[in-house]
C-alpha cells in the first residue's frame, strides 16, 4: 500500500487540469485525513510562534523589503555572488534552463567519476527532474532527507515543499521501509522507523563522496550558501563528501550576511513553527581540510528572468519556500499537493508553475483558489498571491478569448452576456425576469432548485438554490416610492 494509491503526474506539461486531478484525492479519506492532520499541526505551531513575536508584521515588512530589493538589483547581486564565491574557491555555472542545468551537473559528476550521489532535499532539483535524468546517465541519486527517502523508496511523489511526504502516514511509512529495506518485523514506532532510516543513511554518508544540495539563500556579500534543515542529514552531506554541487534558482540571492537575521527568523517560524530550525549550515567556497574540497554552484534561470520582468508577477520570486501559504490554504487542505501537477503545489504553486511554463501549461492552476486571502495573510515576504492569481487569470482570458473553441464555452459566453446585461439597467431587469421565468422550469414545489443543466449543474451537484423571488429589490423600491412610502 502506498500513500496515494494512484499515480500523480508532477510534470505540468502532462498533468491533467486541476479540477480533474483532484477527483481521486477527494475520494480518498485516508489521504485527506493525512493532509489535513499534518497541516493543522504545522499551522497551529506556526500561529503560536508567530504570536509570540510582537514585531511580526515589521519582520514581514523587512523580509519583503529585502527580497524585493534583491530582485530589483538581481543582476548586480548575482555577479557579486559569483565574484565572491569564485574568490573563495567555488566554481559558478549559469544555466538558462532545466536542460542546461542537468547537463552541467552530469558533466561535473562525470569528471568526478561519480556513479552515486547523495542529496540534500532540494525542490529545485525536482523542478528540473534531475533524479530520472541522472539515472538515465547511469548515476544513482540517494535522497538523505527522511521525507525524501520515504518518497524515493516508496516511489511516491512530493506533495508539499517543506514536508514532501506529508500525505503518507506512519503505518504507510512502515510498509515502505519494511518492503524496500527488507525488515519484516519493523514496527511503526517513530523511533524504530527513524533507526531504520538512520541505518540506511549512514552507509550512504560513509561511502558516497559526492553530494548535491539546493540553497535556501545565496549571500552576495560573502559568496556564501545557506541551507536550513531539521535532521542533520544536510550537515552530513556538507562535511563528509569531497565534492558538493549546489543547485539554486537565481532568485535565491540576498545582498548581505546581515539580511539572514530577518530571513532566518521569518523562514523558521513560517515553515515549521520553530524559533530557529535545528540545523543552519553556511559555507563560502572551500576550506582546506574541512568539508568538500571541490564546490560548484549551478545558478538556474528556467523562466525566472521572464517573471522578473513583469510588474505584478515579480513578487512571485520573493518566495522563500516556507510553505505557509499551502499550510493555510483551504483548497490545499482538501486536495493535498499532487493535484497541482507540479513539484510546487498550493497557492505559490498556483502562481509559480504556470509562469515557469510561460502560461502554456498548468492553465487551470490560477483558478484553483477561492481567493480567500489566507495565503497572503501568512506569507512572510508579503507576496500578494490573490493579486497575482487575478493577473494570471486575466492573461489567460486574453490569451484564450479569441480562440474559436472558447467562443461557445458556457463560461465565456455567460460572462460576455453578463457584461452586456450589467451595462444597461433595463437589460439587467429583463434578464432577471427571464431568468425567473426560465428557472421556474427547474424550481420544485418547495420553491427551491435541486437540479440545473450545464454550468448550473456544477452548483447543484451538492447545493440547492432558492428559486428566484417574484420581485427583485429594485421593483420593491420603485413600488414603495410610488406609494410615497
Amino acid at each position: 500500500m502506498n500513500g496515494t494509491s494512484y499515480h500523480p503526474v508532477l510534470d505540468p506539461t502532462l498533468a491533467p487540469p486541476f479540477p480533474k486531478a483532484v477527483l481521486p484525492v477527494l475520494r480518498n479519506p485516508q489521504l485527506r485525513k493525512n493532509v489535513a492532520h499534518a497541516i493543522d499541526v504545522i499551522q497551529a505551531k506556526r500561529s503560536r510562534l508567530v504570536a509570540e513575536k510582537v514585531d511580526w508584521q515589521e519582520l514581514r515588512s523587512a523580509g519583503a523589503a529585502i527580497r524585493e530589493h534583491s530582485l530589483a538589483h538581481l543582476g548586480a547581486y548575482l555577479e557579486q555572488f559569483e565574484v565572491r564565491c569564485t574568490a573563495a574557491g567555488g566554481t559558478v555555472h549559469w544555466a538558462a534552463d532545466a536542460d542546461e542545468a542537468r547537463r552541467i551537473i552530469v558533466e561535473i559528476l562525470r569528471q568526478e567519476n561519480a556513479s552515486e550521489v547523495i542529496k540534500i532535499k532540494t525542490m529545485t532539483s525536482a523542478e528540473i527532474q534531475l533524479n530520472p535524468f541522472l539515472e538515465a546517465a547511469g548515476i544513482k541519486a540517494y535522497e538523505t532527507d527522511l521525507a525524501e527517502i520515504i518518497l524515493q523508496l516508496g516511489h511516491e511523489e512530493p506533495s508539499h515543499i517543506v514536508v514532501p511526504a506529508l500525505h503518507v502516514n506512519r503505518s504507510q511509512v512502515r510498509e515502505i521501509f519494511a518492503q524496500s529495506m527488507g525488515i519484516e518485523d519493523l514496527s511503526d514506532d517513530p523511533k524504530a522507523l527513524t533507526a531504520a532510516a538512520r541505518n540506511y543513511l549512514r552507509q550512504k554518508f560513509l561511502t558516497v563522496p559526492t553530494a548535491i544540495s539546493g540553497a535556501n539563500f545565496l549571500v552576495a556579500e560573502t559568496g556564501s550558501v545557506a541551507i536550513v534543515e531539521s535532521e542533520g542529514n544536510g550537515r552530513m552531506c556538507l562535511t563528509l563528501p569531497n565534492t558538493m554541487i549546489t543547485l539554486a534558482g537565481i532568485e535565491k540571492v540576498i545582498p548581505r550576511f546581515q539580511d539572514l537575521e530577518v530571513m532566518l527568523q521569518v523562514l523558521a517560524r513560517s515553515a515549521t513553527g520553530e524559533r530557529m530550525n535545528p540545523y543552519t549550515s553556511l559555507w563560502s567556497g572551500v576550506t582546506p581540510g574541512d568539508g568538500p574540497q571541490r564546490f560548484h554552484v549551478v545558478l538556474l534561470d528556467n523562466g525566472r528572468s521572464e517573471i522578473l520582468a513583469k510588474n505584478t508577477e515579480r513578487q512571485t520570486l520573493r518566495c522563500i519556500r516556507c510553505a505557509a501559504c499551502m499550510n493555510s490554504c483551504p483548497v490545499y487542505r482538501q486536495t493535498g499537493g499532487h493535484a497541482y501537477g507540479s513539484v510546487y503545489p498550493g497557492p505559490i504553486g498556483a502562481i509559480l508553475t504556470p509562469q515557469l511554463m510561460q502560461m502554456n501549461h498548468a492553465q487551470s492552476l490560477p483558478y484553483a483558489s477561492s481567493l480567500c486571502g489566507a495565503c497572503y495573510e501568512v506569507c512572510p515576504v508579503k507576496i500578494n498571491i490573490p493579486e497575482v492569481l487575478l493577473e494570471l487569470r486575466s492573461q489567460l482570458v486574453n490569451q484564450e478569448r479569441g480562440k474559436a473553441a472558447k467562443f461557445f464555452d458556457p463560461m465565456y459566453l455567460g460572462l460576455r452576456a453578463a457584461n452586456l446585461i450589467f451595462s444597461r439597467a433595463w437589460l439587467f431587469h429583463s434578464a432577471q425576469y427571464l431568468g425567473r421565468v426560465g428557472l421556474k422550469l427547474f424550481t420544485g414545489k418547495d420553491g427551491w432548485i435541486h437540479r440545473l443543466p450545464s454550468v448550473g449543474g456544477e452548483w447543484t451537484q451538492t447545493r440547492d438554490l432558492r428559486g428566484l423571488p417574484k420581485q427583485p429589490f429594485h421593483g420593491w423600491w420603485a413600488a414603495r416610492q410610488k406609494e410615497g412610502r
Binding site: 486541476f18 479540477p19 483532484v22 477527494l26 485527506r32 483551504p330 483548497v331 487542505r333 482538501q334 486536495t335 490560477p366 483558478y367 484553483a368 483558489s369 477561492s370 481567493l371 480567500c372 486571502g373 489566507a374 497572503y376 495573510e377 487575478l390 494570471l392 487569470r393 486575466s394 492573461q395 482570458v397 486574453n398 463560461m411 460572462l415 460576455r416 453578463a418 457584461n419 446585461i421 450589467f422 451595462s423 439597467a425 439587467f428 432577471q432 431568468g435 427551491w448 448550473g456 456544477e458 452548483w459 451537484q461 451538492t462 447545493r463 440547492d464 438554490l465 432558492r466 428566484l468 423571488p469 420581485q471 427583485p472 429589490f473 429594485h474 421593483g475 420593491w476 423600491w477 420603485a478
Partner: protein, 250 residues
C-alpha cells in the same frame, strides 16, 4: 445623514429581503436613504474570473453613478473589497485621469453596512430583537479583505434576546469563491462539507454573515441536506424588532 444604497446585483436578484431589511434598519436609525434605479453590478465576478475588460465597464459605471453622493452603503463585503482592492488597479490601467480622480474622491465614501452603522452613525445598539440561537460566519472578504474587525460582534452583542454561539475555525473559507464554486465544483463542495461540520456543530437556528454569497453556498447545502438550520443576512437580524420580526421568521 444621507446615503445611497448599492444593493449589488445578486442581492437585488436573489435576496431582496436583505435589501428591504437594510432600508428598514437605516431608516429606523434616521438615515435618509436613496436608491439609484439604474445600478447593476460592481464587476467583481468579471474581475475575479479574469475578464478585466468587462470589469472596467462596471467599475466606470459605478464611479459615474455615485460620484456625487454623500455615502454609498453596500451590504456585501466582497463587493466593497472589489471596489477597494481592485478598482484602483483597474483605473490606473485604464489611464483615464478624470475617472481616476473621481474614484479617488468617491472611495472614502464607500462603506460596507456594518462599517457605516458603527463608524459613520456611531451606533452599536440598533434596537434589534431576535430571540434565537445564532452563529456568525466571517466571510473571507469581510475578515481579511476589508478588515471588519469587531464591528459585526459589536452590533450582534446588542441584539436583544439573541443567543450567540461562536463558530470554530472562523477564518476558514466556506469554499464559495464566486465562479470557483462551479469551475472547481468538487473542491468547493469538499471545502463546504468541512465548513458545514463546524457550522452544524454550533446547533444554532441561524447562521448569519455580512455576505449573502457565502450564505447562498451554506444555505444551499443546508437545504439539500435537510440540515435543520437556516441562513440569514445580518442586516435582517439587525432590522428585526418585536413589532416587526425578520421576514425569515414569518
Amino acid at each position: 445623514m444621507r446615503a445611497s444604497l448599492f444593493i449589488t446585483c445578486y442581492n437585488d436578484t436573489l435576496f431582496p429581503e436583505t435589501g428591504r431589511a437594510v432600508v428598514r434598519l437605516l431608516e429606523r436609525l434616521g438615515v435618509e436613504l436613496d436608491f439609484h434605479p439604474k445600478q447593476t453590478c460592481c464587476g467583481q465576478m468579471h474581475a475575479n474570473t479574469g475578464f478585466r475588460g468587462e470589469a472596467f465597464c462596471q467599475a466606470k459605471r459605478f464611479v459615474r453613478m455615485y460620484q456625487d453622493v454623500e455615502a454609498v452603503v453596500i451590504p456585501s463585503s466582497s463587493c466593497v473589497a472589489m471596489i477597494r482592492d481592485q478598482y484602483p488597479g483597474l483605473f490606473e490601467e485604464l489611464g483615464n485621469e478624470e475617472l481616476r480622480r473621481q474614484f479617488a474622491s468617491l472611495l472614502p465614501r464607500v462603506y460596507e453596512l456594518s462599517e457605516f452603522v458603527v463608524d459613520q452613525l456611531g451606533v452599536d445598539d440598533v434596537g434589534a430583537y431576535f430571540p434565537h440561537r445564532v452563529t456568525y460566519h466571517a466571510s473571507c472578504h469581510g475578515l481579511r479583505g476589508i478588515h471588519l474587525g469587531d464591528r459585526p460582534a459589536r452590533l450582534m452583542n446588542k441584539v436583544r434576546g439573541m443567543e450567540q454561539v461562536s463558530l470554530a475555525n472562523l477564518d476558514r473559507c466556506c469554499g464559495f469563491g464566486g465562479t470557483f464554486s462551479v469551475k472547481n465544483g468538487e473542491v468547493s463542495s469538499a471545502m463546504l462539507a468541512v465548513k458545514l461540520q463546524d457550522v452544524m456543530a454550533t446547533r444554532a437556528e441561524f447562521c448569519t454573515a455580512l455576505d449573502n454569497s457565502c450564505l447562498m453556498h451554506l444555505g444551499g447545502a443546508m437545504h439539500r441536506q435537510y440540515a435543520g438550520m437556516k441562513t440569514i443576512h445580518l442586516a435582517e437580524i439587525l432590522a428585526s424588532t418585536e413589532a416587526e420580526p425578520a421576514e425569515a421568521l414569518l
